[in-house]
């Protein structure tokens, strides 16, 4: 019976290739990445920037050195990188084998680093693109360097780069120290900004050329100002014979580029770059079956009977209208929660369970209403309800729908004519959906657990199965549980566990990974309730996350037509046993570290239970340039007091890339490696990969150092992220989808 079955994957490839060729043919050669994963030549940076929003992952290897980098073009000018670095044979010259300690404790040296780059000048007819950059600007500073660099296209196929580097980029061929000597690095616990080092000490020039041979192939040659003093010199991990590096790169498609290099006159290198552009969707769009077409009413003159309002008095009219509407919308996963009406207005409240754009759910409801509602109804009020809480009301005139259906400016014109407003706590007298709830949804599927950067390896992983169940007694009263069982994993390899002074609210994760098998990750009840037209409430009770259980309460003040919201959260929780069954007893063994607990070492302090009152005041603001800021001030899980700042770049289609820092009253020494909590967040809507509508989002938090200070409770279904898609800005930023 199927006819037009659109195949998103194949289309995606075709579109992808078409875009590559279009890009390459039209502009000067694209800005490429270097082995550090930032915009550049081979080992050296360049003056260019990636296209705004571009996200890339680079894996590069030469000699003993491997780097894995996540790079993000934060804005048109600013980009940032997070990198995991490994240097093998670190102790070749150390002479401490087999019992090395401190920085020599491991034969492979691992480090994490952050870079920032800012393009101060865009390439013009005569002027080059100029970028100023900080490499490894926070942290141990082992690969720290600063630079200013310019790149100019001489022809569309040939560009040249010249720059001046400091730090490790000033270690070979120095021309002196223009800004004074570089003070020695005080590493301490790492993680601090090394302000006083920046652009100090010897500076050295570097440069290179990049020749785009054809659409796919690029040749690169550079003169490097990096002497690899530590890696090649002091530690002898490889032999550096020359400052010249050569490379050949191949653009496989829009998403992938690979390269091979001859490095430092002695080593062969390889790199693979993977590109994700949040601004593009595979296949060019979300494939959803067509909506109802707008049904145009007959004119009042031609069919006065159709315009009669007598139907209002028909006792079962509401139930019939609701059922008819629900049938039309059920294929789109839209539930019609309630309906109320008079002769000229109909108010319909909907629950959107599938479409990633609420505007599309509203648009489809509006078009379905033109097919269902008697002709006398001119005003449609569509209320978005989430977890039983009505959030926003979109009021749209039926005659506007009829007039604009095929208008090429329909998106903007309709947005001008609708009104979006807050809704009261409960909707006026309405015929309600009595069939859909209670509702049980469940799934059994694959499960993956990652442990990143545990000192021994970039990551460790486990694969297994998970079972999820969600029982919605009413739309706002939800029981939820998740059980996981690992089948294969290397999570039970014990990593080094540095000593600590705080309660191990997170840093005992190794014990949770290895003992919780199977684990009841969550088992909780959540109740949502709208408290006033702009205030929302939540109470959650139970095993809230894998390490904590208890009570979590929250209120959120979020006016529909504003860009800000203010929230308050108060939780009283106890730490769960690492086996993640039902207990809250903490075994003495989970307190073991490298400094205590083992034979011959002092016993660790090991309270057999841990309870804490934790909570935050939170402020949220969505800037109109796509950035979002959140500030949380309060008491964290270890009892420490402080604040978190989180900045995200949010794309209208649901991608979010962000970074956060938390500073609490825990000293850098007590915090341990990293000095304070920080990390990167990445959220990708599932629909990007499937081309099918879905509200699922895949997210990940990358923390260079997982420690105990500045940690928040990880409770599901916090209010702000639950309701903000239904606020005015959430509805309108994907307004183009109203008509899809």
């Amino acid at each position: 019976m199927m006819t037009f079955t659109v195949q998103p994957i194949r289309t995606a490839v075709v579109v992808g290739l078409a875009l590559v060729f279009a890009t390459i043919a039209s502009a000067e050669s694209r800005p490429t990445l270097n082995l550090y994963g930032g915009t550049g030549l081979i080992d050296m940076p360049s003056g260019e920037a990636q296209p705004d929003g571009m996200l890339s992952v680079t894996s590069s290897h030469f000699g003993p050195i491997s780097r894995t980098t996540l790079n993000f073009q934060i804005s048109e000018r600013l980009s940032g990188s997070f990198r995991f670095l490994g240097v093998r044979d670190w102790n070749k010259n150390a002479g401490c084998l087999p019992t090395c300690t401190g920085i020599d404790a491991f034969n492979t040296y691992y480090d994490r680093s952050f870079d920032l780059r800012y393009r101060i000048l865009k390439e013009g007819k005569y002027l080059p693109a100029v970028t100023i950059g900080l490499q490894d600007f926070v942290g141990t500073g082992v690969i720290a360097g600063e630079y200013i660099v310019a790149t100019k296209n001489l022809t569309p196929d040939l560009k040249v780069t010249a720059g001046l580097g400091w730090g490790r980029l000033g270690t070979y061929g120095s021309i002196g120290s223009p800004f004074g000597t570089r003070p020695p690095l005080v590493i301490g616990s790492g993680g601090n900004f090394n302000f006083d080092q920046w652009f100090r000490g010897p500076a050295a020039p570097f440069g290179g050329v990049e020749w785009q041979i054809n659409d796919a192939w690029t040749f690169k040659a550079e003169y490097s100002s990096d002497a690899y003093a530590e890696e090649a010199g002091a530690r002898g991990t490889f032999k550096r014979r020359s400052p010249f590096n050569l490379g050949l790169e191949y653009q496989y498609n829009d998403q992938m580029r690979v390269g091979a290099y001859y490095m430092h006159g002695s080593e062969v290198g390889i790199a693979a770059h993977f590109f994700l552009n949040p601004k593009q969707r595979a296949g060019g769009g979300i494939t959803v079956s067509a909506p109802d077409a707008v049904a145009v009413r007959p004119s009042r003159q031609s069919d006065p009977e159709a315009w009669s309002t007598d139907w209002v008095t028909q006792t079962d009219a509401g139930a019939i209208l609701r059922t008819n509407l629900a049938k039309r919308l059920s294929d789109d996963g839209i539930q019609v929660a309630s309906i109320s009406y008079d002769g000229s207005t109909a108010q319909v409240s909907i629950r959107n369970t599938r479409l990633d754009a609420e505007a599309q759910a509203v648009g489809r409801t509006a078009r379905a209403m033109t097919n269902v509602m008697p002709a006398s109804v001119e005003r449609f009020e569509i209320v978005s309800v989430v977890n039983g809480m009505p959030v926003s009301r979109v009021t749209v005139r039926r005659s506007d729908l009829e007039a604009l259906e095929f208008d090429t400016l329909a998106t903007a014109k309709l947005l001008d004519r609708v009104t979006i407003s807050s809704t009261p706590v409960s909707l006026r007298d309405a015929v309600r959906d009595t069939e859909t709830y209670p509702r049980l949804t469940w799934s059994v599927g694959p499960y993956a657990r990652l442990r990143l950067f545990d000192q021994n390896a970039p990551f460790k992983a486990g694969l297994g199965i998970q079972a999820n169940a969600k029982y919605e007694i009413t739309p706002g009263f939800i029981l939820r549980g998740k059980v996981t069982k690992l089948l294969v994993d290397n999570l039970s390899d014990r990593p080094p566990i540095p000593g600590r002074t705080l309660q191990p609210v997170r840093s005992a994760n190794y014990f949770y990974d290895s003992l919780g098998d199977p684990a009841i990750e969550t088992l909780s009840a959540t109740y949502y309730h709208k408290l006033s037209s702009e205030v929302y409430g939540r109470v959650s009770v139970g095993y809230l996350e894998r390490m904590f259980g208890g009570v979590s309460t929250e209120v959120l003040w979020m006016p529909t037509a504003r860009r800000w919201a203010i929230g308050a959260e108060l939780n009283y929780v106890a730490q769960r046993s690492p086996d993640q069954r039902f207990g809250f007893g903490l075994p003495a063994t989970m307190y073991d570290t490298d400094a205590c607990g083992d034979a011959g070492q002092p016993a660790c302090a090991s309270p057999s239970s841990y309870r804490v009152l934790t909570g935050h005041l939170s402020g949220y603001y969505k800037f109109d340039n796509g950035f979002h800021a959140q500030v949380d001030v309060g008491r964290y899980l270890a009892g420490d007091v402080g604040a978190t700042l989180a900045i995200k770049r949010e794309f209208e289609n649901g991608w979010k890339v962000g970074a956060f820092v938390t500073k609490t009253n825990v000293s850098a020494a007590d915090f341990g490696s990293g000095s304070f909590d920080k990390g990167i967040t990445l959220e990708i809507p599932l629909s990007v990969f499937t081309g099918k509508p879905s509200r699922e989002v895949r997210g990940n938090v990358l923390r260079p150092f997982g420690r105990d200070g500045g940690q928040r409770l990880d409770v599901d279904g916090r209010l702000y992220e639950t309701v903000r898609d239904y606020r005015q800005d959430g509805l309108t930023e994907q307004w183009g989808r109203f008509w899809k």
Partner: protein
């Protein structure tokens, strides 16, 4: 587009008002009607250049509602579409699996259900296509990857008008073959129309978008 077609459209709305409220439910759904009528002859066809289609006049004889045959050139997939709505001269035609094409006098102004859909378009009328010698413009609106509408103005001209005999499911027609070329910057596309003597489009091959490609629309109405 005479009174007959309009009446067909009015029937479902009338049902929605009367029968719908009386509990007749979704049977009044014009789309469902199309589904019932067309389901007997639609078939799923494999990718690649279209193999011999299973559409014959004998099969079409079972369909009482007017239908057109749509082929997605890129994949060779075919569907019979039936009219489900008429809004101010724009007719929306739907396949069984809810993929729609909206046509103004046979010229595509919107698609839904394909992925990279044509959201809306300002298109030439049949008179312009059949007779005009001057250039004219089209406006096409698509959504970009961030769901924002992008409206592109194309400059178009007719590059060919020549007599051509065509066959549409066993029946042959004497037509005028019209080729339309449109461009905006480095984007170009070409549409083809086959006009009958009465000024109606019997067959066309029309561009939708990069992702969807061309649609071939053949009018199966007698």
């Amino acid at each position: 587009m005479g009174a007959v077609l309009e009446m067909k459209i009015l029937v479902p709305s009338a049902l929605a008002v009367c029968l719908g409220l009386a509990g007749c439910g979704n049977d009044s759904d014009s789309f469902m009607m199309g589904r019932l009528l067309t389901s007997s002859i639609t078939a799923r066809l494999s990718d690649g250049p279209a193999p011999a289609p299973a559409f014959t006049r004998a099969a079409l004889a079972n369909i009482v509602t007017p239908v057109q045959l749509v082929t997605r050139e890129k994949t060779g997939q075919k569907a019979v579409v039936a009219k489900i709505a008429d809004n101010g001269g724009v007719e929306t035609w739907s396949s069984v699996d809810k993929v729609t094409l909206s046509l103004r006098q046979g010229v595509v102004v919107a698609t839904r259900g394909f992925g990279e859909d044509l959201m809306a378009a300002e298109v030439p009328g049949t008179a312009t296509l059949a007779q005009s010698g001057a250039g004219y413009t089209r406006a096409h609106t698509l959504l970009n990857g961030l769901d924002a509408p992008v409206r592109t103005i194309y400059n178009c001209k007719i590059t060919e008008r020549s007599p051509q005999s065509i066959v549409v499911v066993e029946l042959s027609y004497k037509t005028t073959h019209v080729v339309e070329m449109c461009s905006a910057g480095d984007q170009t596309f070409q549409n083809e129309f086959w006009f009958e003597g009465n000024g109606k489009i019997r067959k066309s091959r029309q561009w939708v978008s990069e992702g969807v490609g061309h649609m071939i629309v053949e009018d199966l109405r007698r």
